[in-house]
């Protein structure tokens, strides 16, 4: 009987460790047993993640205190090969990656008793090789931006020496962190303006309710050198834009909810807004196509940006995603690809490097779908790795 045998095996194991060895020594023709394997071995990852790796952020909408960011190799064929690891990120945090430092940064919030008790807000610094916390910076309590995941709630600046953390309490500001000392340099108010977008080498811009940017230039010590408000370029009531741009080189492309795109020069200390152009070819405008989604836009390294589009746009449909991804040659202001999704897309991300792939979150089954960026063809679905509500995806950097 199996049960009894198992019981005896416990003693057997100790006895036979040596007996088995003895057998192998006596009879060379008998294949030796499997070697005893070491315990306590923990896997590690390369410091630089290959372009095919993505960070899939499951904010755990039904258990927000237990969010998860899965590291997925989209080039691998089997689930076992695809899943490289996971880090917990608590309370719909946001993440950023530094290729220079081989670190992943995450804003997290904890309470002393799970969902109750004393609150603590933390910037956790994960090592990419170990996916373990290498350090943390305690943030001012109750300020850090907490909402649907953003690509620009955290910003690396000054050759990755500084990290800016966008605050929203709802008073808006930026907490500037020195990543060398892992200490807070200071907090910079951005009244009426939110989030944090690149502006030159070591500055940032914020997007304002009155339809302009507030650009903040910083001195070498991280203090504010100058804050400048640009001219109004949109009306947040009648011609609102998405707060989610694709940044290609020195240009950030901000789509509007109606379907225009505003190119913004972010190469200088002060944002320079260029002339908007229409994402929708004239012939198709009757179908009322418009951008929609959460992580709805991303770019590749060949100067193209990718955006989720839906037809029959109406008030309130701008965050629901859509059935197609449209690809644009940003410089040529021209749509170069129109990708029909298997079902629906809520969020997308594009890999870096010469052969980019497109990953799209299919909200109907919470799976990830992989598409060829050249042919637009569907390649495969990646799912079952534990994701429940993967609301944001980041290509590895």
């Amino acid at each position: 009987m199996k049960i009894a045998r198992t019981g005896r095996c416990l003693l057997g194991a100790l006895a036979l460790g040596s007996v088995a060895g003895g057998v192998a020594v006596r009879a060379e023709t008998v294949p030796p047993p499997l070697p005893i394997e070491p315990t306590g071995v923990i896997e590690t990852l390369p410091a630089t993640y290959p372009p095919s790796w993505f960070l899939v952020h499951d904010a755990a909408f039904f258990h927000m205190g237990d969010g998860k960011v899965y590291i997925i190799d989209t080039a691998a064929e089997t689930l076992a090969q695809q899943v490289k690891g996971m880090v917990n990120v608590s309370m719909i945090g946001n993440i950023a990656q530094s290729a220079r430092r081989n670190e992943i940064y995450a804003t997290e919030t904890f309470h002393s008793r799970g969902n109750r008790g004393d609150r603590m807000d933390v910037l956790t610094i994960f090592e990419r090789q170990t996916l373990a916390p290498a350090g943390e910076v305690i943030l001012p309590t109750g300020k850090r931006f907490m909402g649907m995941p953003q690509r620009y709630a955290l910003l690396l600046m000054n050759d990755d020496r500084w990290l800016g953390v966008a605050n929203f309490s709802p008073a808006t500001s930026v907490t500037l962190i020195d990543l060398d000392s892992r200490k807070i340099i200071g907090e910079i108010p951005t009244p009426g303006c939110v989030l944090i977008y690149p502006a030159g080498k070591s500055g940032f811009s914020s997007l304002c309710a009155d339809g302009r940017f507030l650009s903040t230039e910083l001195a070498a010590d991280g203090s504010v050198a100058k804050q400048t408000r640009t001219d109004v370029f949109f009306n947040s009531d009648t011609s609102p834009i998405f707060e989610r741009p694709a940044v290609i080189g020195d240009t950030a492309y901000f789509p509007s909810i109606a379907g225009l795109v505003h190119p913004v020069n972010v190469g200088a200390g002060v944002a320079e807004v260029g002339e908007a152009w229409n994402l929708v070819p004239e012939a198709e405008r009757a179908e009322n196509w418009a951008p929609s989604g959460i992580g709805l836009i991303d770019r590749d390294d060949q100067g193209r940006f990718y955006i989720i589009m839906h037809p029959d746009a109406r008030d309130g449909s701008y965050q629901g995603g859509g059935p197609e991804v449209w690809v644009y040659d940003a410089a040529a202001k021209k749509r170069v690809q129109r990708i029909k999704l298997q079902a629906w897309g809520l969020t997308l991300a594009v890999s870096r490097g010469p052969d980019p792939v497109l990953m799209v979150v299919n909200p109907t089954d919470m799976s990830l779908e992989m598409y060829d960026t050249r042919s637009g063809e569907f390649i495969k679905t990646i799912s079952g790795f534990g994701q429940e509500t993967p609301l944001m995806v980041h290509g590895s950097r």
Partner: protein, 173 residues
């Protein structure tokens, strides 16, 4: 998650397909019209006592299409041990909220609805309801619904959302 429960699955699809944000709404207006300033409207409250009878409310407060929820986004407290205007036991109501304007089919009036959230416990998980109207990105705090508004509360944990009548809206027809 209730894997095979159709209603739940539908809710999850909505969560995914229809903007998906955390489910808390508020405006700077809320800072004016929120809990703290209800006493500013004594007359309206007084009239509640006399005059002709009010038409009965129409609709089911546990249904996403209930009139007050025109701009709500989150778990309905009516399905979590609270009601359309009260929080479930053991939670804490957020002091300030986003304000929506919804038309009451019973009297044809537009009312200002305060979507106070109930905080301090994790997601209720029932009756996820998404009705984006007039929503804007976070650069418009007075209209954004992408933020976890359990900010003024002792806990950041979001549990569910209410929809409280705080006034009659200005009719601009």
């Amino acid at each position: 998650m209730n894997l095979l429960d159709k209603a739940f699955e539908r809710q999850s699809r909505q969560l995914a397909q229809r903007s998906s944000r955390r489910g808390l709404l508020k405006t700077l207006g809320g800072l004016l019209v929120g809990a703290g300033t209800i006493p500013l409207l004594p007359v309206a409250r007084a009239t509640a006592a006399d005059g002709p009878a009010r038409p009965a409310e129409q609709g089911d407060p546990a249904s996403c299409d209930y009139w007050r929820y025109c701009a709500i986004d989150g778990f309905l407290c009516s399905c979590c041990g609270g009601s359309e205007n009260t929080c479930p036991p053991g939670t804490e109501m957020s002091p300030v909220t986003w304000i929506g304007t919804c038309r009451n089919p019973a009297d044809g009036r537009n009312y200002v609805i305060s979507y106070n959230d109930c905080c301090g416990k994790s997601s209720c998980g029932a009756c996820l309801c998404q009705r984006d109207e007039g929503d804007r990105p976070p650069y418009r705090p007075d209209k954004t619904n992408d933020i976890n508004w359990c900010l003024g509360t002792s806990s950041a944990a979001y549990h569910c959302s209410t929809a409280i009548v705080v006034g009659v809206a200005f009719e601009d027809k």
